[in-house]
């Protein structure tokens, strides 16, 4: 029973672009053609003369009518740097990245608005721009924010365990560098919304592609200077999000446009706008030393990671926040003595930076996987051997990792073993040796990862808030509310399955409602769907079940302990024919309980109100500070062949073993795995946001930002382990990010293995054909030089 999916395949989706309101006007943004420039003047006269143009909104309007964007994450600590910029949703004085909106045209129809956008005359004084984090941190770099003394937004320093001891104990250390290029998560649907300001009630309703409506309401209300109670955000069908539709920013301009024009205003972002104005992700430079013993025992890490955050201005700390998990995650699933990690975030004249599947933890995990594989090579070990040597063992859970993560459960050796069973490792290694003689380059990559899921961090909007409501309506069907928007990750079917299993109800009668800002929660991000909202739904359903049992026992005149429910009926286990359908039960409980009504005890406890709202919070976070609650496990093995003469990588085989705890819906999980893996492959081999020398983005469409098509996507073999999490309500673990992390790591490792004959270190992504070929030629040149 896939109600939502059936609706969508039949073409009945209602996405942001499908929204229509009477009297609706359309908004189109005018962006900056410079990456860094002073705005000398904006003249809207010509645009306003075009018939159909209603209004042009500029940065001056934002200053006049709205508040600066609110702070979303703020960490002050002695010895740390944490800077925030004071900006509005559109600037009035200075543009800081290519495509940054400087004006918005509102017109009767979108075509007119687009046409008028070309007529808005803006005079700029171009400024030198900086487009690289390492350069931005040098004293001679142009400054992105005039009131900052340099471009360093963030500098965090962490000591986990005893890093000095780790290095004292070490037989060897190894220097490892690792670079990830800038990417775009790029759902096929860009962002869009319709804002409807109601002047009579001074209230604002916004419908659109909101991944986190509750947070959106908070931020838009703050910007608009309205009480949150007067603002409602409703998510419609969302055409993919992956984190990119969390932050509201341009939406503030749409809201203001509605208020200023008194019209419903629709904004549907053109795809090029979405590409250019972000959010973008990755773009990090790692450098560090890993300490280990000669027998392969891992001991410690001292490393620094520099993030190219782009501008800070739009999400007020949330980009910077991702440096926390980047620094913490390297501990991963292995045992360590200690780590010292510093995370630096530099601002540059590039679009802002935010969440995309992995958020920050992905960076630490990929770096450590790559580093461990280097250690294995140095010691002449296989990548699997070094992992088996250092894994946390199945009997050690819950495991207090040095980074404060309380890791819930798992069987790491079994996960990797399973993957190795699915790939004929010895066979492929022999084949690699054989092909090498013919000048062909086969590579086998191995990667294992955990997925820290369900983020809860203090001092930011990712604090771990969630609320769910499960109720039985008088017609005997179930209504489920939560903060978990459906972004294609199976939220609706998962929630329905959880509630259905607990209440013994057929999925056909469970209605998972679209998410609005009415329910508290930070939405589906950081794989928290199966942790926080799912736990809250399960908790509410369990409490509701108790109410049902009490009411049913009274109505059926049986003992509560004898009441059970299945297939839409509530019955006595002793006499199954003594039963009520949920429809009969609800009808009685709500309206017609019988001649004497319900038992007074039930009424005193309100148990006849078949409606439960529950909140949920991690059982481990409060005492330990573990910023995640569940840790799903995965192992990836990939076999690739690299065409040495062109640099093209072909994926020969791909296997993935996954342990997401108790499986709620296997098809959904498999789908998440497939999608994540292909996105990771895209990052590893094809995807790159490229800029010109003035920091203007060149990759602004699908024709020059290469996401994998059906041709590039390989077949994927999946196997599951099922080690329940003791910490979530259902035993399931948050999932969906491990696949993008593991696949990128494993493909790059496989490419490196394929190029082992050349001794090439693959520490830059994407490993595009040109880059791979460059590495080969450089190596050949060096070898020739040495000869």
């Amino acid at each position: 029973m896939k109600k939502r999916e059936e609706r969508l395949v039949m073409g009945k989706g209602q996405y942001a672009d499908d929204l229509e309101f009477a009297g609706m006007a359309h908004l189109v943004f005018v962006g900056s053609p410079y990456a860094h420039a002073l705005i000398r003047s904006i003249n809207t006269d010509k645009a306003m003369t075009l018939p159909g143009v209603v209004r042009v909104i500029t940065g001056q309007d934002m200053v006049q009518h709205t508040h600066p964007l609110p702070v979303q994450a703020n960490f002050k600590k002695p010895g740390w740097t944490w800077r925030l910029a004071n900006v509005h949703a559109m600037p009035h004085d200075k543009v800081r990245w290519y495509g940054e909106p400087v004006a918005a045209v509102v017109a009767e129809d979108e075509e007119t608005a687009r046409r008028a956008a070309d007529l808005v005359e803006i005079v700029y004084d171009p400024l030198p721009a900086t487009g690289n984090a390492l350069e931005a941190l040098t004293p001679e770099s142009p400054r992105v924010y005039d009131d900052w003394e340099d471009n360093k937004q963030v500098h965090l320093k962490f000591d986990f365990g005893d890093p000095d001891k780790a290095f004292e104990m070490a037989d060897q250390t190894l220097r490892v560098t690792y670079r990830e290029g800038r990417v775009h998560g790029l759902p096929i649907e860009p962002r869009g919304c319709v804002a409807v300001y109601d002047g009579k009630n001074d209230a604002l309703d916004i419908w659109g592609s909101f991944q986190t409506p509750f947070l959106a309401r908070h931020n838009i209300a703050a910007t608009m200077g309205m009480p949150e109670a007067k603002v409602k955000i409703s998510a419609v069908d969302i055409g993919g999000a992956f984190g990119l539709k969390i932050h509201t920013w341009k939406e503030n301009v749409v809201a203001l446009a509605s208020k200023l024009t008194g019209r419903p205003v629709k904004w549907m972002e053109p795809h090029r706008d979405f590409m250019a104005t972000g959010p973008h992700q990755r773009d990090v430079f790692w450098e560090g030393d890993i300490a280990f013993k000669n027998d392969g025992t891992l001991l410690g890490l001292k490393a620094q990671v520099v993030h190219d955050l782009g501008v800070e201005s739009t999400n007020k700390g949330i980009a910077a926040l991702s440096i926390f998990p980047a620094c913490s995650a390297p501990a991963s699933m292995y045992k360590w003595i200690g780590m010292h990690i510093e995370g630096i975030g530099a601002v540059t004249n590039k679009s802002f930076y935010c969440a995309y599947r992995g958020y920050g933890k992905d960076k630490g995990l990929k770096f450590i996987e790559s580093a461990i594989n280097q250690v294995a090579k140095k010691l002449g070990m296989t990548p699997e051997a070094i992992r088996f040597k250092n894994f946390i063992q199945p009997d050690e859970f819950p495991f207090h990792q040095i980074n404060n993560y309380v890791i819930d459960s798992g069987d790491y050796p079994a996960t990797l073993n399973k993957a190795m069973e699915m790939v004929d490792m010895d066979g492929f290694r022999k084949k690699k040796a054989d092909l090498e003689k013919q000048g062909r380059c086969l590579g086998i990559g191995v990667s294992t990862t955990i997925e820290p899921a369900g983020v809860a961090v203090p001092n930011c909007q990712m604090g771990g808030i969630t609320q769910a409501r499960v109720m039985i309506t008088p017609d005997g069907s179930v209504e489920v509310h939560s903060d978990r928007t459906e972004i294609g990750q199976g939220a609706e079917i998962s929630h329905a399955t959880i509630a259905g299993n607990i209440l013994g109800m057929d999925l056909a009668h469970i209605h998972v409602k679209k998410v609005t800002s009415d329910y508290i929660g930070q939405g589906p991000l950081s794989s928290r769907g199966a942790v926080y909202p799912a736990s809250a739904v399960a908790k509410a359903a369990k409490l509701l079940r108790k109410k049902v049992v009490q009411c049913a026992a009274g109505l059926l005149m049986v003992e509560q302990s004898d009441v059970d429910m299945a297939d839409g009926f509530v019955f006595s286990t002793k006499k199954p024919e003594t039963r009520l359908s949920y429809r009969e039960l609800a009808d009685k409980v709500f309206f017609f309980p019988g001649p004497r009504g319900l038992d007074p005890e039930i009424l005193k406890n309100h148990d006849h109100l078949l409606d439960v709202t529950a909140t949920w919070y991690s059982p481990t976070t409060p005492d330990t500070g573990s910023s995640y609650t569940t840790f799903c496990v995965s192992a990836d093995i990939a076999v690739v062949e690299v065409d040495v003469d062109t640099g093209v990588t072909d994926i020969v085989k791909y296997v993935h073993v996954h342990d997401a705890g108790t499986i709620i819906n296997r098809q959904v999980i498999d789908g998440q795995i497939h999608g994540g893996i292909i996105q990771g492959i895209g990052e590893a081999l094809y995807e790159s946001l490229d800029y010109d020398d003035q920091s203007r983005l060149l990759s602004t469409s699908f024709s020059n930002y290469f996401i994998p098509t059906s041709i590039e996507a390989p077949d994927i073999e999946i196997a599951h382990l099922e080690t329940p999490s003791p910490f979530s309500e259902t035993g399931s673990k948050g999932m969906g990010e491990a696949p993008i992390i593991g696949s990128k790591a494993v493909i790059l490792d496989a490419v490196e293995d394929a190029l082992s004959g050349f001794g090439i270190r693959v520490n830059d992504s994407p490993a595009s054909p040109e880059k791979v070929r460059q590495w080969i030629l450089e190596t050949q040149r060096k070898t020739k030089g040495e000869d």
Binding site: V9, H271, R272, H674, I677, Q679, S701, S710, I716
Partner: protein, 162 residues
């Protein structure tokens, strides 16, 4: 310049008046209210707006509506019969060849044309993948989509089709 436009859309003859500069995508969404035709890149790269024109898949964002005067146009809405999902749609839900659903209607139209062309012949994974390369999907990794197309082909071979 307003131009009368006659089309057969999902089997119904319609007479519309359009501007010369309107794309077929715009006309289908705005004049014919067929919202399964999704708009994303508007430059013929993503395939979300794929419809069939005279049984061939095209990117409706790259077609001037007036240029297909008299043509037969088919969208996902046209595959639905008596409010029942078409067997190819059923295959996509059965195999979960859908996540966010945004690329799905376009993908379905390409796949539907593909299956109809392969009447009586086998449909290999490779050929399915080649045929769908103009329909970008960011969610599914295409794995379940390929499965769904094969399932749909089986549906057709078993006589479950319209």
């Amino acid at each position: 310049m307003k131009i009368p436009l006659n089309l057969t859309i999902n089997g119904d003859t319609v007479e519309l008046t359009v501007d010369a500069n309107e794309t077929l995508l715009h006309v289908l969404r705005n004049s014919a209210s067929l919202q399964s035709v999704h708009r994303s890149c508007e430059e013929g790269e993503c395939g979300a707006c794929t419809v069939l024109v005279n049984n061939e898949p095209v990117n409706s964002c790259l077609v001037l509506a007036v240029s297909v005067q008299g043509a037969s146009v088919m969208t996902a809405e046209g595959l639905v019969r008596n409010n029942e999902p078409h067997p190819i749609m059923k295959a996509f839900t059965d195999e979960l060849g859908i996540q966010c659903g945004f690329c799905t209607p376009g993908m379905l139209m390409t796949a539907y044309a593909l299956i109809n062309r392969c009447e009586g012949s086998e449909l290999t994974d490779e050929f399915i993948r080649k045929s769908l390369q103009g329909n970008l999907c960011r969610c599914t990794g295409y794995v379940n989509i390929v499965k769904a197309v094969k399932k749909a082909k089986q549906n057709k071979d078993a006589g479950y089709w319209w």
